[in-house]
């Protein structure tokens, strides 16, 4: 009679997985009876056995994690008050001044660069290198490309006279 009852209980335990129970309450709060049920079921169910094993480890790991609480250092309040004064000092400065403090260097350097570029573009070239209109037109792109019959090309007669005048001089 007792044996058949035990078998019935065992059968019921086998049917009901215990993973849900392990996930719904902290492992440390499981009662002895609940642990017995979990272990009995674990004997016949690999997934629940693994869940039980990992629940033990997870619980142990978490307890260990909380073992090392950091204590406040001495004079911590002094540091907090210093931080507070720093924060208040920042808040008391007007917004435009704060903006200038953070972006002032960048804005100044940009302004200097713009002025320098303007000076080089407009003032310096005209002062240092005056270019005559004639020179400019002689070597303009249009004249180079379109004016194929250049002025410095010699005629046939000029070539002959140059050649024979040299011979005459030699005689």
């Amino acid at each position: 009679m007792v044996k058949s009852l035990e078998l019935e209980v065992q059968s019921a335990m086998k049917d009901e997985h215990v993973i849900e129970m392990l996930d719904s309450v902290p492992f440390g709060s499981l009662s002895k009876e609940q642990l017995t049920v979990v272990e009995s079921h674990g004997q016949v169910c690999v997934s629940c056995s693994n869940a039980y094993r990992t629940a033990i480890l997870a619980s142990a790991v978490m307890k260990e994690r909380l073992q090392s609480a950091v204590e406040p250092p001495p004079f911590f309040e002094t540091r907090v008050l210093a931080g507070l004064r720093e924060q208040q000092a920042v808040e008391n400065v007007p917004a435009l001044v704060r903006l200038w403090k953070s972006a002032g260097a960048l804005v100044s350097s940009m302004a200097v660069a713009t002025v320098a570029l303007a000076a080089f573009s407009f003032a310096v070239p005209s002062a240092l290198t005056p270019v005559s209109d004639q020179t400019a037109s002689a070597y303009s792109a249009e004249s180079v490309i379109l004016d194929q019959s250049g002025d410095d090309q010699m005629t046939y007669e000029q070539v002959l006279s140059t050649m024979y005048s040299d011979d005459d001089e030699a005689k």
Binding site: K14, H17, L22, D23, S24, P26, F27, G28, S29, E39, S40, G42, Q43, V44, C45, V46, S47, S49, N50, A51, Y52, R53, T54, A55, I56, L57, A58, S59, A60, V61, M62, K63, E64, R65, L66, Q67, S68, A69, V70, E71, P72, P73, F76, E77, T78, R79, V80, L81, G83, L84, Q87
Partner: protein, 200 residues
Amino acid sequence: MARQAQAGDESAFAEIVRRYSPRVFSVASRFFRQRSSVEEAAQEVFLKAFTQLKSFEGRGSLEGWLTRIATNTCLNILRSAKRRPELTVSDLTEDENKWLDDQLTNVASEPKHSVEQHVIAADLADRVLAVLPPEDQLALLMIDGEDASVKEVSEATGWSESKVKVRAFRARKKIREAMEKLLSGNGKEPRIGGAIGNER
């Protein structure tokens, strides 16, 4: 004291910091392990508390009010620096393997650990907990690690009790799965209670 601090009395605020910094540090230690991170978070908590002192009406305790600010500040810091690395098999060192084995072989009795083993376990805990969102980490650490009640977590965070329960349930499941992945990757399949392996 809170009223004096509200009126801008710095020495009263310094007294508040002195009195409640252990509590704030304890809250910040749940989230961070590095001393410098805990101190930074605690300082931010008190600076925030000072600016929000006017909103403290004195209905609840000052400690409870500060705990809530500390919890939310630490959650915000964690959220902004969020990076959840995927756990890999190679993450488990030999020392960690040994520590986990110790836990499984000494289920009934609490195994005694050296300082070095505490550090190993805390490192492992950090990496396993990193798979969870900060809110789930908090719920799990408070309920399962510190034996806090759902109501206490609800008061510290401002979440509803059902939200706390859901978060804790989800966190337990995720952390179990992460552990299982870690162990199965290392070929660890010890059977507790001698499971015979006929999975349903």
